[in-house]
Amino acid sequence: MNTIRQFHDVINDSDGYARRLKNDSGKKILGYFCSYTPEEIIHAAGIHPLRLFGTRSAIAHADAHLQAYSCSLVRGVLEEALAGRLEFLDGAVFPHTCDSIQRLSDIWRLNLKFSFHSDVVLPVKLDTSSARQYMGDVLRKFKRELEMDLGLSITDAQLSKSIKTFNTIKRALGKIYRLRSANPGLIAGADVYALVKSAMIMDRADAAEKLTAVADQLEKTKAAGADSGKRIVLSGGLCDHADIYSIIEKSGGAVVWDDLCTGSRYFEGLVSEGGDPIEALADRFTERVVCPAKHSSITARGDGIVGIAKEHRASGVIFLLLKFCDPHSFDYPYMKEMLDREGVPSMLMEIEQDLPSEGQLSTRFEAFIEMLR
């Protein structure tokens, strides 16, 4: 599909995109790291929220601050910032998730001189009323911080408008995912990856419009030929590799759904468009698909992956885990066990910012996909 090229262009040069956006619109840009960032509040302040990913460059500066046993996301983002390649940022927002992001925030604050820095210390458990109350309190606190530090005010009307924009993006991504699940030959995995990643980089009004157009167009398209790939679900933190999708496809699989921070966990669960907007955001964070750094029940993630596998008739699940990611590593054995019980085979692939060679990846994916029914 021709229009999808533009999304690849965005993700292939996200820094360039951000620089142009800043020049053209004069907007401030805040970097962020995870899908628990209250983007709607940032956006409502007229600020552009830009998700930061690792780096493809060699680590030269971050090693002086972070041990080699830190994950490549944390090291990579710090590298980008220390190398001066994120000079267009006005600051960054750190939602409290894992121990590594928590310390990255400290190291960032102490070594980089962006004008804005905020820690959004969300509750870790999400299953009590006091945690829900605190969630709202933290979001209100963050809104106040933005207003005070940047000398602006965020009205409920602005918030509601932003919520609608983000809901439109989430709806479009959800629709694209569902269309692909129904008909995996409809769109290449690498293209869906580009769409999701773009949604975290592009101007959001623009993204909402363009993603909706893609979703509508896909709905009208008949897939070229029946798809014979085995139905694969990806599970893990983030997947920042278009190549993974094409290698899986070449190996005889088709990704039909995922449980990724840069995937379904990002777009699932819309924010209510009525009532108090901050409370609505707090509700969504409390109820959305849980990340392993948060707690909603002791089997939430296992139930989640089994549910996804069933709903999308997965032949197999590939766990794509970032090396040195503790929360995901802890969840893997029980999630695998729950899938085993349901008769859904799975495999574990540990990845870093630099992927193993394509040959190595193909061999492993092929071996796995061949054994799937």
Partner: protein, 415 residues
């Protein structure tokens, strides 16, 4: 290091800390109690090392610490075997070795005491890390018991009023949880007494640690690692108060007689991060061979580091701040301030940092702390890459070379 340095010195033998025997008795009795709890109608609660244990004591539940168990596993060099078992179960080698060894020990009753007694319920406080949340989720599934999460929001630079309100409400929830799982009413009068004993114990522990301000230091961080067990496991009891009263007397006596933990103490060092449990003796001897004593550490002082926030007349209420603003739950710059205070207080000549693969909240940020210290104080520092339990992360010749080089610098600076 020459052989002579490692041989036992009869003088040193005479100077051994006498309280050690008592400590061993207390810990043995404690574990027997815990292991026979079910027979005596008592509940066993597993709790994280930095968790609010006092309400458990009020409820007569026996607190058991998987981390303490992890330390014992490490010290008895049983870590690698258990860690490998956990890896066979699918747990990645990169995750915390306390967690790995504890998870594996549960399935085979492994470790030096044949496994911990099974818990009736779990209390997880995340003021030390996010890892404990995942670890306790694993154990809650394994033992099929209730899990209470005491969520203490991280304080990078401030303790927000929002966090205060949230933690305060969790104290009430915690008490309600205990009433349900223990099947009895929470006794507020007893809480006052337990709170008082907890504070008394913490003050005594701080006093014990402070005896190392004496030159020579009557004990070292390696001793502190050992004596720490009671302030962790029996905080809030008369037993802990009595023990630390005795230990404090002994240390004061040693100080008065100028008996040092390291004979001919010449250099004073500060240790950062958890001990390398399987190498404490080796490290202690190695530094002692240079007449260097590790007089203080950031780890053992964490169990009395928030004394300033605790209020004897409102222990429950003050637990909010006391349990949230602890050493590992604050920003790197806040940690640096505490280290700087310790450097002055204990008059140290250098700092030894253990970059601990098992503990990211403790280890990430150490490079920045090291750099700031060098810049602001000119203090030499050493980074040892290791792990608290997993011996496979220990590279002895490399570490020895680094210690040798570091001690040369210290010598040159101090003479």
């Amino acid at each position: 290091m020459s052989e002579e340095h490692l041989k036992k010195d009869p003088e040193k033998e005479k100077m051994k800390v006498k309280s050690i025997k008592k400590m061993k008795e207390i810990m043995t009795a404690y574990y027997i109690d815990a292991k026979t709890a079910a027979q005596n109608g008592k509940k066993v609660a597993w709790i994280t090392s930095g968790g609010p244990v006092e309400p458990l004591i009020v409820m007569d539940a026996i607190p058991v610490y998987p981390e303490n168990h992890g330390a014992m596993i490490g010290a008895s060099k049983m870590g690698v075997d258990l860690c490998e078992k956990a890896e066979d179960m699918g747990y990645c080698r990169d995750i915390c070795s306390y967690a790995r060894s504890d998870i594996a020990a549960s399935t085979v009753n492994g470790g030096p005491i044949g496994g911990l007694p099974a818990p009736d319920f779990l209390v997880c406080c995340n003021n030390i890390c996010g890892t404990v949340l995942k670890w306790y989720e694993v154990q809650a599934r394994y033992y099929k018991v209730p899990l209470f999460i005491f969520d203490t929001p991280f304080c990078h630079t401030e303790f927000s009023s929002e966090a205060r309100k949230y933690v305060r409400s969790q104290i009430d929830e915690y008490i309600k949880f205990l009433e349900v799982v223990c099947g009895k009413k929470f006794d507020m009068d007893k809480m006052k007494e337990v709170g008082r004993l907890s504070l008394q114990g913490q003050r005594l522990w701080q006093d014990v640690l402070d005896t190392t301000m004496n030159k020579p230091a009557p004990m070292s961080a390696f001793d502190a690692f050992f004596h720490l067990a009671l302030i962790v496991t029996l905080r809030g009891t008369q037993t802990a108060v009595d023990y630390y009263t005795m230990l404090l007397e002994e240390m004061k006596e040693r100080a008065a007689q100028k008996i040092g933990a390291v004979p001919n103490e010449r250099y004073r060092l500060l240790w950062d991060n958890l001990p390398v449990w399987f190498k404490t003796k080796w490290l202690s001897d190695k530094f002692a061979s240079y007449d260097a004593c590790l007089v203080a550490d950031t780890y053992t002082s964490a169990w009395c580091g928030s004394l300033e926030y605790l209020d004897e007349n409102d222990f429950l209420g003050s637990m909010v701040e006391g349990y949230t603003r602890i050493y590992l739950n604050i920003g790197v710059d806040e940690m640096l301030k505490i280290i700087k205070k310790m450097i002055k207080k204990y008059d140290v000549d250098g700092i030894v940092m253990h970059s601990n693969r098992s503990c990211k909240p403790y280890s990430l940020g150490q490079y920045d702390i090291m750099k700031s210290l060098q810049r602001d104080t000119g203090l030499p520092s050493l980074m040892i890459e290791a792990d608290m339990v997993d011996e496979r992360a220990w590279s002895e010749s490399q570490i020895e070379t680094r210690i040798d080089a570091f001690m040369e610098i210290i010598k040159q600076k101090k003479g």
